[in-house]
């Protein structure tokens, strides 16, 4: 069953067609990856699903229900659509712990008056969130040593991990990751790949990911959709996508694999 179904989605900014008639599906409890060259429309697609952009045409169905434009981003977050951002979007004025707790915002209820007094429901709720965040997320992502630090002082890899933690605190059903391993070293990438697989297997969360690192994409994805110039070229299993001539053309600008291989070999010998 597909937890997310995109049908005939079109989005344009003036004359620029960011997405044209995009259709694909995200099967439940899989790692589904969208790949494609820069500017193919991957992040635009994420923004449509988040509700930040309003597509001119097409529908997005989530858990079988349509997601019209009238369902605003905060509501979508409450429905279980969580995401991270391509350029890390942590809140610099807060500690790691507060950033993660912020993710739980939609699942909390305490109002202004009880917050002012920090008594009764507000206090109990904060404590419950703290416990949940500590025991379920901070422990799992191995970031307990930095919980009191301001996020600005962290390395890039750790910031990405804190962002993942914040998205997990939203108790997502679909976790959208925008380039989760971009700019990471090998060790950090392997950690992140392990976390993503664990999130799918142990937490039962569907992961929808945009990523350029082909090694990782082919290793951990169950399902891949390829986007180029705002259109879906193909979707399917990693092995099928890998050998699709259209995909190779989109990435390398040439569909003749044999001649490419020869060219690369020749260059290898010359070097």
């Amino acid at each position: 069953m597909s937890i997310l179904e995109i049908s005939n989605l079109s989005l344009s900014f003036g004359g620029v067609k960011a997405l044209q008639d995009v259709s694909f599906r995200v099967p439940e409890n899989t790692v589904t990856t969208i790949i494609g060259p820069n500017g193919a429309g991957k992040t635009s697609l994420f923004n449509c699903i988040s509700g930040f952009y309003k597509p001119q045409q097409g529908t997005i169905r989530y858990q079988g229900q349509p997601l019209p434009g009238s369902i605003k981003p905060p509501k979508r977050a409450a429905l279980g659509l969580a995401r991270t951002f391509q350029n890390i979007a942590l809140f610099r004025g807060m500690t790691v712990l507060d950033n993660i707790k912020l993710g739980a915002h939609v699942h909390m209820k305490s109002g202004l008056l009880s917050a002012l007094a920090y008594f009764g429901p507000a206090r109990r709720e904060e404590m419950a969130v703290r416990r949940d965040v500590e025991e379920r997320i901070i422990d799992f992502l191995e970031i307990d040593h930095i919980r009191r630090q301001p996020v600005a002082s962290l390395s890039y890899g750790l910031q990405k991990r804190v962002e993942l933690a914040r998205a997990l605190a939203m108790q997502p059903k679909v976790l959208m990751l925008d380039e989760p391993v971009a700019g990471m070293n090998r060790e950090e990438k392997e950690d992140m790949a392990r976390f993503i697989l664990d999130i799918r297997e142990e937490w039962g969360v569907t992961v929808l990911m945009v990523e350029h690192d082909m090694g990782m994409v082919m290793d951990i994805s169950d399902h891949i959709a390829v986007l180029n110039f705002g259109q879906v070229i193909t979707e399917g299993l990693p092995a099928d996508v890998q050998n699709n001539p259209e995909v190779i053309k989109a990435y390398l600008g040439n569909s003749d694999i044999e001649s490419l291989r020869k060219k690369l070999n020749a260059e290898g010998e010359a070097a």
Binding site: S50, G51, F52, K72, P73, P74, A77, A78, A82, R83, F85, A89, F91, R92, G93, M94, D98, K101, L102, G103, A104, H105, V106, M108, S110, G111, L112, A115, L116, A117, Y118, A122, E125, E126, M127, V129, R130, R131, E134, R166, M170
Partner: protein, 347 residues
Amino acid sequence: MRIGDAKQSYEADEAIWTSQTQKLWLGFFLLILLVFPFVVDSYLLYLGCLVGIAVISTTGLNILTGFTGLISLGQAGFMGVGAYTVAWLSINTALPFPVTLVLAGLMAAAVGILVGLPSLRVKGLYLAIATLAASVFLHFIFAEWESVTGGMGGLSLEPAHLFGLTFQSDFMMYFIIVPLAVLMVAGARNVFRTRIGRAFIAIRDRDISAEILGINLLRYKLMSFALSSFYAGIAGGLFAYFYRVVTPESFPLSMSIFYLAAVIVGGMGNLLGGILGAAFMTLVPEALKLLTAALTPFYPNAPVFMSPMLEIIFGALIVGFLIFEPHGLAEIWHRIRRFFRLWPFRN
């Protein structure tokens, strides 16, 4: 020196005052506040009350500008709403003063929500201009709606009464103003331990991501405006009871700038900064006057030279702070604390 910092429960880890030493200092500070009115002269008592009112209003503006990132030039206007509400209620009704104060806060909060409505669309300097317009508009209402506000002449009110006590002297007012200031700062601190405070900071740091993470921007921006103007309304109400006369000129635009300066000099997004900034902005002009008086026996001409210089020196001090201490007075305090963290050992 601080040792044995391990916590046994999340409750203990989330507490504001985590060590015995901190609690001891806090108790000491509260004791000073309590003893203060009994040992100082009437001038210092007067200043103490002024600082208390300024702390409440600055804390309010800090919530809005420092924590939520919404610049407002309407603070004096909101204080005016609170002051006029108190004045009108105490003249025309028999409500006890705690009720009129709370109503003043609520009235200001309601006006704050109205003024805050444009904040969903405009931010930064544009919002500053929108709130400036609102403050001009409020000033106009204070001056022209004569049947309610008494026009340019303003309103005079009786001192506050409660349980047979009359809060006429500065001494009596001190015991309303300062406990309220402590309470309201504590309330603000509590807000920033909860989801609401986190939402405010998230809006300041990255409003678009905050929305995608589930924060309803309009709701929380307006909540910040309401809370901030509630604080301003209470401060204005206390102002009315303190001076017992309210005129349109009690709340000029320069007062809004005064509070904005207090927030910036103290440290934006830092509650301690708001307190220090309020004290600094209130006390430094007075200290400069005292300095002039102290110099007079040695230089008989000192008042002639100094009085036009006071404003300039005050301005220069503010500029100096912005250059050398851009994170505000609170940062100086944090440095001192860091120094003593492991004292007498080196860090």
